[in-house]
């Protein structure tokens, strides 16, 4: 695909963004189903198309290899690039093997080990996010699931190399954010990013797991809304009908964004890049500020527009 074609598509998508979050329940539910489509490309599908020379690395160098996260280093547009992704399974057997892309602390420790390699080599880091959340299990807790997620965020915050996080499917909870601290956070057109999976939210807030669709609607976790809130810096288009219809085209569209953005990021001195990364996450959020003393009157809500870099 010609670069101009990609650029044109970008402009069209970013143009219809802005303003209040979209509330159409039907559209949101459709996006969630596309984000979780069984035929949607997963990290290894993108990797084999973007960097045919890729060495997958295994193990957290502590106790095992968490199959929910794939990590490795490959040759991308003439330089080594580290890729870390959350990998779902294509069939029943593989889904179990990948633990439905819900990693334990070992997965994040594997990720951090490969990030350290990236920093040593000066290789950019690309993360591909697609998980319903970090795994909820007794062993994961004992081995420090909370600390592993926190340390992974801290490690990404400190990397000297350019970093891009791409939400390729569903990004849910701290399990997704653990790989989501980057210079640019982007979402594929039909991906979602949320504080919790719709099922989890339904169970907690509605006390009824069958209310997933209702929960999904309330969270409005679409790429367009995340862009509005400053959570996503860009929305990467997918082939017509969704990424699952054409993996090659989906990879080409992602390639266009990644190669262009890496060039932009590499032009920024490392220290400045780290600082900007920090400031990016320092800004995100929406709160009111009461005038000090007396009765509160009116406070504006920033819908996140200022949180854009």
């Amino acid at each position: 695909m010609k670069p101009s074609g990609i650029g044109g598509r970008f402009r069209r998508i970013t143009h219809r963004l802005g303003g209040a979050p979209d509330g159409d329940a039907g559209d949101i539910w459709k996006a969630i189903q596309l984000a979780r489509h069984a035929e949607r490309p997963y990290p290894l599908d993108y990797i084999q198309r973007l960097m045919p020379d890729f060495e997958e690395l295994h193990g957290d160098r502590l106790r095992g290899d968490d199959h929910a996260i794939v990590a490795g280093i490959g040759r991308y547009h003439g330089q080594p690039v580290v890729v870390i992704g959350q990998q779902k399974g294509r069939d029943a057997e593989e889904r179990v093997f990948r633990n439905f892309a819900m990693s334990g602390p070992g997965g994040y420790r594997k990720a951090m080990r490969v990030m350290a390699l990236a920093d040593k080599l000066g290789a950019p880091v690309i993360t591909l996010i697609d998980t319903p959340g970090a795994f909820a299990g007794a062993e994961a807790e004992i081995n420090g699931q909370g600390g592993a997620i926190a340390t992974s965020m801290q490690t990404m915050m400190r990397l000297n190399v350019p970093t891009i996080a791409v939400v390729i499917g569903e990004g849910s909870s701290g399990g997704a954010l653990a790989l989501g601290i980057a210079d640019r956070v982007v979402m594929l057109e039909n991906s979602t990013y949320s504080v919790i999976s719709p099922e989890g939210a339904a169970a907690i807030l509605w006390r009824d797991a069958a209310k997933a669709q209702l929960a999904a609607t309330a969270f409005k976790p679409t790429a367009a809304n995340c862009y509005r809130w400053g959570v996503a810096d860009a929305v990467v288009p997918e082939p017509e009908g969704g990424a699952h219809t054409d993996h090659d085209a989906a990879a080409r569209l992602l390639d266009g964004y990644l190669s262009r953005t890496l060039r932009t990021l590499e032009a920024i001195p490392p220290g400045e890049r780290r600082l900007q990364r920090r400031e990016r996450f320092r800004r995100i959020g929406a709160h009111r500020e009461l005038p000090t003393g007396g009765t509160a009157i009116v406070v504006g809500v920033d819908d996140g527009q200022s949180g854009r870099s």
Partner: protein
């Protein structure tokens, strides 16, 4: 920029009454029963014992301001940033609209789930950030994230220890992905402390779970936990539902987490202020030598100094980049 107006009258909110829990309804209003040993106490008696059961040592919940009072010398502290209040960026409605939940929580007296203050403990100045479980389950939304980051930056600027006491169910669901992003914001706050070489002390109270355990509270420099506090990313109920494992009763409890290697000490609340004062004495920072990075920091604020600190490694790095670029000519055709 999309701006939206929200009207909230605090005076009206103050008129609201707390909805009593079923347990509270069974007892006279100033009487509390210990769930562990069933002893009954007048609430005044309980308050004097820092909400710890005098008979069995069970630790009851403590509100944010009450905790500040317990820890601060003479119970005196200066609360910061009470003007920051929750917004409703998602226009979120579950069983009831989010602003209604916030109103109800504010009506109980606290302004948010995190209260921050300048205080002294054992004569030592510090910045404290305390979570209040009574405010929407101590959940972390945009206000909590913002106040937390400000508190870290303030401690870094003043070069005084940063202390945080946690009690939270995790991220505030009603703020959706923006609440999730506050986890990252707390990490940014800790980076300010790291730049300044200022210590962070985390006290985990019951419960510390979800996104709060998976962010700042698991990576403090020194981590205390209160006896019996549940400390977990996923709580035992969720784990039992997902994996159908039967978990021991003390799963995720402070005492177990000490054995698991996730906390440094389990500290009885009645000893907490003393322990914090002693620890701050050990950690006390030397006077910054003239011209040092630390002094600049005090003068110019954290960010400027962070810039200086981060500029240093560039020199060698840029040189290296240039060399490595020479190794791969044409590898980056479109480099600007």
């Amino acid at each position: 920029m999309a701006r939206r107006q929200i009207q909230v009258s605090i005076d009206r909110l103050r008129g609201h009454r707390d909805t009593p829990t079923p347990r509270a309804q069974k007892l006279p209003s100033d009487d509390r029963a210990c769930p562990k040993c069933s002893s009954h106490y007048r609430s005044e008696e309980m308050r004097r014992n820092l909400n710890v059961c005098p008979a069995c040592g069970h630790h009851f919940a403590v509100g944010g301001r009450e905790r500040l009072q317990q820890l601060s010398d003479d119970g005196v502290y200066d609360e910061l940033w009470t003007e920051l209040r929750a917004a409703d960026p998602l226009r979120f409605v579950d069983l009831q609209p989010y602003p209604k939940r916030v109103e109800a929580a504010e009506a109980k007296g606290a302004s948010e789930a995190l209260v921050c203050a300048d205080a002294r403990i054992g004569g030592r100045p510090c910045v404290i950030a305390v979570m209040d479980f009574a405010f929407l389950g101590g959940s972390m939304g945009s206000v909590v994230g913002e106040k937390f980051a400000r508190a870290c930056e303030r401690a870094a600027e003043r070069r005084v220890p940063f202390i945080t006491v946690t009690a939270s169910g995790g991220a505030r669901m009603q703020e959706g992905v923006l609440a999730l992003m506050q986890m990252a914001k707390t990490i940014v706050g800790f980076e300010a402390l790291a730049d300044a070489g200022v210590p962070s002390i985390v006290v985990l109270a019951h419960p510390t779970t979800g996104g709060v355990w998976a962010s700042f509270s698991s990576i403090g420099d020194v981590t205390y936990a209160e006896p019996g506090a549940l400390i977990a990313f996923s709580g035992p109920r969720v784990i039992e539902q997902t994996t159908r494992e039967k978990l021991p009763d003390d799963f995720g409890m402070a005492e177990r987490q000490l054995e698991n290697g996730h906390v440094d000490a389990v500290v009885d609340r009645r000893q907490l202020a003393g322990r914090l004062a002693r620890l701050m004495g050990i950690l006390e920072l030397p006077e910054a030598p003239p011209g040092s990075l630390a002094l600049q920091l005090a003068q110019n604020g954290t960010e400027r100094a962070a810039r200086v600190a981060q500029a240093l490694p560039h020199l060698s790095r840029r040189l290296r980049d240039r060399i490595s670029r020479g190794d791969h000519p044409g590898g980056e055709g479109g480099r600007p």
